[in-house]
Amino acid sequence: MVADFAGPRPPGSGSCCGSSHGVSILDYIERGLVRNRSEPLPVIGDVLRDSHGRMAQFSVQLDDGVIESVSFKASFCVTLIAYCELLAEWATGATLRRAAGIRPADLAVALTCVPPDKRDCAMLAKAALSSAIQTTLEGGST
């Protein structure tokens, strides 16, 4: 469920580009573009690409089984970057199990204004995070 990851919901929403908790996709794009330029963290997942040429790669830093911080590299689509940022924010502070439980559908529900032909970006974002999580489970660092 989205509420498991979204935290408290401030009042006010309803625009087509508002998320389920009242934040515009533009905010995620803006923050995502910043995070997209950040340095990779110690545990790095695979570079994943979709059939449209979009690319995403997540890296995470763990502290006692909890995801302490998240970084990603994604190109070139701002919708993908928004999904990656949303996922990064939800995963930060979550256990590996909980982060692994985030579904692409949760992301799609949160950013309702994304047109149908762009919603597959959520699947790529989630798959890239899952790769980083899998790397941690295998004890790898790169």
Binding site: H52, G53, C77, C113
Partner: protein, 112 residues
Amino acid sequence: MKVAYIFATQKHTISYVLGRMILPQLEEERHGAEVVAMFFFEDNTYILVKGNPLGERLYQVAKKKGILLMGCDQCCYEREIADKVFDGVSVGCFPDLYKALSGNVPDQVITL
């Protein structure tokens, strides 16, 4: 000759250049070039919203002639119209446009 139009400026680009020149010429088969794509920036993206009268004409011509219509994704998100565009019209950025055009490459790209 194949051409692609990029509607980047916001003067009378849509209402005049597209609405009174390009679109009627396309409708009347007298444009003189094969238009393969139109890409819209900023407020020009409003023409892609369902219910826009000029957009409806453009949409019909585009469907008939196989013209790719695409709006700048960030422009559409800013205006909260990304999920309100005509069916089959996509929003994206330059890489999306280039990929979409890779199978039908224009000879000229004209920025208006």
